[in-house]
Structure formats: C-alpha cells, structure tokens
C-alpha cells in the first residue's frame, strides 16, 4: 500500500439498525490496512456526503438491508456530484435484488456485494482499485 493510507468511510444510511455487516466490513478493511471511519447508524445521505468530504476519504462503503437502496444510493451519488466530489468511490452491500444492481451500477455505484459475498471479494475489489 502507498505511503498515505487509503481512507474509507463505512456508513449506515437510512433508519435500518442492522449493522453487523457494516461493522464486520469496517474491521476487515482496517485489518487489511485501510484507514476506516465508521459513521454509526441513521445517517442521512447529506450527512454521509458531508462526512466523506470533511474526512477526505477515498471511498464510501454503505450497507443497506431495509430495501431503501433505490433511494439511498442515487441520492448519495447526486449529492457527491453536486459537491464536485464524485471522484470519491461509492460501493455498497446488503439485501439488494439482482435486478436492482445494473441500474445502480449504471448510475455510478462501483460495486455491490450481496449476502454471502466472501470478505476476500470486498478486499480484493479495493486492492485492485488502489493497487498503483
């Protein structure tokens, strides 16, 4: 990994309290050498984007299990664009039906991990991105 550690914001948007996945991913990425900031629960898209910018992160990973993904991901992308911060990578995970994945990727979500995804896939995805 480069001199400057890659910074990742792990966020729980919306009202959903199921944070097991978010916390496990946060620890996994921390152990893989990333600098991880975890927002905690009930973050609005506005709060997540504001934290991402003020913490100067390279990527945002969000976890949604409540079915609100088709609102939350597009809204975060929209806000990142508005703030001129769409260089920040957005990825996510949760209970996201197959047919919802292509439209979200089209909008700019870099990767989506669904139930059962190995941790190594998520770490692998990021290390590929930040290899050079």
């Amino acid at each position: 990994m480069a001199d400057k550690k890659i910074r990742i914001l792990i966020a729980k948007p919306g009202l959903d309290g199921h944070d097991r996945g978010a916390k496990v991913i946060a620890r996994t990425l921390r152990d893989a050498g990333y600098e991880v900031i975890y927002t905690g629960l009930r973050q609005s898209p506005e709060q997540i984007v504001a934290s991402a910018i003020s913490e100067d992160v390279d990527a945002i990973g969000i976890s949604v299990l409540s079915g609100a993904h088709n609102y939350l991901f597009p809204r975060i992308i929209e806000l990142l664009k508005e703030q001129g911060s769409d260089d920040i990578l957005l990825f996510g995970g949760g209970i996201i039906p197959d047919e919802d994945i292509p439209p979200l990727k089209e909008l700019g979500v870099a990767a989506l991990f669904t139930p059962g995804a190995p941790l190594s896939d998520i770490v692998g995805f990021l290390s590929e991105r930040y290899a050079s």
């Binding site: 009202l15 097991r20 975890y38 927002t39 905690g40 079915g67 609100a68 209970i95 669904t114 059962g116």
Partner: protein, 548 residues
C-alpha cells in the same frame, strides 16, 4: 479410575493414534464439546437441578403438561406496506392455521416518525407495515376480532404509543383493554446493544418501559408487557452463552427499574416474557433454552426474592435464526429452519416464528411463508417430539451442555454486575463490543472455511435464478402519506393541541405514568410522530457512541 478414563486411555487412545478427529470441536460459545458424555459428567441432584415441569427451577418446562396440553403458538412475524395490505396477509395466515399474530412495523413507525417526515423517505412500508395513527391500527385489524386473537408487536422505543393505538382501535371494536391478549416487545436495552431502533436516552426510555408495566398491571391483565430479547443480539453475532447472559442481564435491569419505580416484584414479573433465537446447532440450542429457564428462576428467587412461582417462569418466544439463511440455494434454508424449529420445540418454547426460505433475499412470499408454517405443523403433528415433555432431558450430553452454558452465562452476568448493570454496560459499549468481536470471529471462520456454510462457502453451484420475490408496491409511500394527511385534516384540532400539551407537561414530571396521556392522544387520532415529538422535546434523543 472411572470407566470413562479407562476407555479414554485404551480403546480411544488406540483409535486416535491411528487417525485424528476431523477438527477441534467447540460450541458457538467457545466451550470445548465433550466427545462422549457419560454419567460421570453429571454430578447433580435430579430434584434440585431439573425437577418437574411447572415447578421451580423449571428446567424441564414452565407448564405441567407442555405440548400435551396445547402445542406452542405458531406465530409468524408479518407486516409490510400499508395497513390494508397487511390486514390481508394476517387474514390469510389465520386461515392457514396460524394461532397468533405478530406485527412487523416499518422503520419510521419503529423510530417514531410519521410517513410524511423527510426522514422516512425510502423506508415507508419496507420492512413492515406503516402505522401513523389509531386510524391505521383500525384498518390493520378490520374484520379480526381483537378480543379473540393474541397479538405480538415488535415495537420498542415507542411501545407505549403503539399499545395506545392498539387499545384505542380495540375500543372502536367494542373490546375493552382488559380483554386484550398479546405482547409488546418494549425492550429498549437491546436496541442500544444491537437492533438500533432507539429514540430517547436510556433514563427516560426505562421510564417508558416501566410506565407500560404499571399501566398494564392495572388495566390489561393478559398483556405481556415486555419481550426481553436475545434474538437481535444473537443475530448481530453473539454466542449462545452470551445470548443467555445479555438477555437475562437486561431482564435484571428491567426488574430493578420497576422495583425502583415502586412496584412489587410479584405484581409485574409474571407478565415478563422473553424472546430467543434458535440456531443450527441443535443440541447447544436445546441446552441454551433449558439453561436460560433454570438461571432466570434462580435470579428471580434468590436476587429479587419473588414469592409467586409465576414470577420465576421464563416464558419465551423463539424465532429461527435469520442470519443463518443463505441467499445461495435458498431451498436449503427450509432444512435449516426445520432443524432450528426442532431445537426450539425440544427446548420448550411457548411460541415460534419460522423464517421463510427466501428471507436472505427479500420479505417472504405467501408461498414461502406457508412452507415455513407447515414446517412447524409437521414438527407439532407428525414428528412426535411434542408428545412427551422435555424429551432430551437426561441425555448426558445435553445435561452437561446445559450446565456449561449456564456457568458461562453466569460468568458474563457477574461481569455485567461489576460494570454496574446492563444499562451501564450498554452505555460504555461493553455488550456491543462483545457482540462485534464474536461476529468478526465468526466471519473470519467462514472465510477460511473453519465454519462451513453449505451452499455458500462449500458445496456451491453456479448461481441459479430464484423464483418470484415479494415486492413492495412503489405507490405505498404516496398512499400512506395521503392517509396521514387526511387523518390530520379530519380531527378536532383544539382537542389535539390540548392533549399533546398535557402529554408534554406530564412528561416533565418523572414520577407521572405517561400511558393515560398517550392513550388520550391516541383516541383523538394524534399521530405517532406528533406524540413522539412531544416526548423528544422533553427527553432529547439518544446519540450512540460507536463501537467498532
């Protein structure tokens, strides 16, 4: 030298010299598992350690005849979209032989926001039904006689409000509060620890919990005032022993809070109920339920000096473990649910929810819910395990494991006592950290295949398309927002203002029971958001300290 030792040194040693065992065997709680339990592993006196069903320490069950009298209540947790939609699902479930209702509320309802609150955007009707006022509750129970059905409500921070809506809706049906039978989850501590639908800080939240106890002990004698829940902490990752310990530690905190509020332990303890998960490890789970029952009885008798036997009974609901369901090869989940249900029944549960095979992917379809319900019915009517009481008692292994789980749970409870009790343990993040540690360890084990998850990290197939999934109609949100706007328009506004002001004034006095004030608001169609906002103004909101 005992015979077991002799066997270990001779026959077993020879076999192990020829070939090792598959792996090191440990329970989810980290307890090394006995290769072979024998009478030598049991040192207890039957009458004091096990006793008889319906008698202290209730190891063998809380009722004298258990399922020979009546099978457990088959209670499927359900709710989605609008009250109209959910009402249809409830009627379907009742027509299929389900014996109790269990309401799933959407997240805005669980956190005290009306459907037209900006914070509700995207979440309306998603994980449960949206209920904004008594009006929605009336629709939810349209055509379902509220004096005949028992209803469990998964509602915590605003439990007082939803119970008030329920009572007000029943009054509309001509059913008085004393006829109502059911449960409010009303367990705020595990919300801070694991589930996340808190609103207010711990002190006023504990007041609302005990306000509900107080109101119900005088007005709704059949109502279970709380369902002290280990389920969500287990789902968040803790072990079986931690599940017992954290749940009973929360129970201790509620009993203390009610006693401090001036109640006599025997006036409310008999209405406390519990809620556990049932996982794949069948024998550990059976042992867990038995250990929890025996330990709670001991706590109530020795710590709180309860006099009535009823106060010492741990009566519990069980749900099969959602986190064990795989999105891959979803049909395999039917088998997992069957194993977990068997554990719950052989562990003596009072009611059971069986998860549906497609729940790692979406809310369940009607078809998959039916299979889940049929699983319970097959266990109840065909398997024979319900025909005798506590069928695994006396198994050297299960008794040994019951003892070990109880001992491990007691160690944890002693640690929580040292911290200053469950409220404090949650405030300092102890319970959250323990849960996250266990979850991370488990995931690492899955990653390196120390833990096999069939179909997910072993025995995989190429992804196959799954059948139809349940979909929430996108029009739900607009419809619900329209309904709550209508409700606000068609009521006596002066009356609303007056009752909300009275509630706020009452909230400022910590010794006042708020339930009657909230009921006044519910009867005149104040919305949940309005009621909760009055309380937010006085109590403030909880901000979690994040524990990674």
């Amino acid at each position: 030298m005992g015979n077991k030792q002799q066997w270990t040194e001779t026959t077993l040693a020879k076999s192990l010299a020829r070939g090792k065992e598959r792996k090191e065997f440990k329970s989810t709680s980290g307890v090394p598992l006995e290769r072979l339990a024998t009478p030598e592993d049991l040192h207890e006196d039957y009458d004091t350690a096990l006793g008889y069903p319906g008698q202290y320490p209730f190891t063998r069950g809380v009722q004298p005849t258990m399922y020979r009298g009546r099978l457990w209540t088959m209670r499927q947790y359900a709710g989605f979209a609008t009250a109209e939609e959910s009402n249809k699902r409830y009627k379907y479930l009742l027509s299929q032989g389900q014996t109790g209702l269990s309401i799933a509320f959407d997240l805005p309802t669980q956190i005290g926001y009306d459907s037209d609150d900006p914070l509700a955007t995207g979440e309306i009707g998603r994980v449960g039904v949206a209920i904004d006022s008594t009006k929605d509750m009336e629709i939810l129970f349209d055509g379902i006689p509220m004096d005949k059905v028992s209803t469990s409500m998964t509602i915590n921070a605003p439990a007082v409000v939803l119970l008030a809506f329920y009572i007000a809706a029943a009054e509309k049906q001509g059913v008085t509060a004393d006829k109502l039978n059911g449960t409010t989850q009303n367990d705020i501590l595990k919300e801070y620890a694991a589930r996340g639908t808190y609103i207010f800080p711990p002190a006023p939240s504990m007041r609302l919990v005990t306000n509900l106890f107080g109101y119900c002990s005088a007005n709704t004698p059949l109502w279970n005032t709380i369902s002290i829940s280990g389920y969500h902490m287990r789902e968040a990752g803790c072990s079986a022993a931690q599940e017992i310990a954290f749940t009973l530690a929360d129970g201790i905190a509620y009993v203390e809070a009610a006693i401090n509020a001036g109640m006599d332990v025997d006036d409310f303890a008999g209405r406390l109920a519990f809620f556990f998960a049932s996982h794949n490890n069948l024998l550990e789970e059976v042992a867990k339920f038995r250990a929890a029952r025996r330990l709670w009885a001991k706590i109530m008798k020795e710590r709180f000096h309860a006099k009535k036997e009823r106060s010492m009974m741990l009566r519990f609901h069980t749900q099969t473990a959602g986190c064990t369901l795989t999105a891959q090869q979803p049909d395999n989940n039917i088998v997992r649910v069957a194993v977990q249900s068997l554990a719950a029944v052989m562990g003596g549960t009072q009611s059971l929810h069986t998860n549906s095979k497609d729940e790692a992917l979406a809310l369940p379809t009607e078809e998959s819910v039916r299979i889940a319900l049929r699983t319970q019915q097959i266990i109840g009517y065909e398997s024979g395990v319900a025909d005798t009481i506590d069928p695994l008692a006396g198994s050297y292994y299960v008794e040994d494991l019951t003892n070990k789980l109880q001992a491990k749970a007691e160690e944890y409870i002693a640690r929580i006592d040292d911290i200053g009790g469950a409220v404090k343990a949650v405030e300092v993040g102890f319970i959250q950290r323990e849960i996250t540690d266990s979850a991370y360890e488990y995931q690492k084990a899955v990653e390196v295949k120390d833990q096999i998850v069939v179909g997910q990290n072993e025995f995989m197939v190429e992804k196959v398309p799954v059948g139809a999934l349940h979909k929430i109609d996108p029009a739900t949100a607009d419809l619900q927002i329209k309904k709550v706007t209508e409700v606000r328009k068609n009521r006596n506004q002066d009356n609303v203002k007056e009752k909300l002001a009275a509630l706020r004034a009452a909230a400022t006095d910590a010794d006042t029971n708020l339930m009657p004030y909230i009921l006044d608001c519910a009867r005149i169609y104040c919305t949940e958001g309005e009621i909760c906002n009055e309380l937010r103004a006085v109590f403030g909101e909880y901000r979690a300290t994040e524990v990674l």
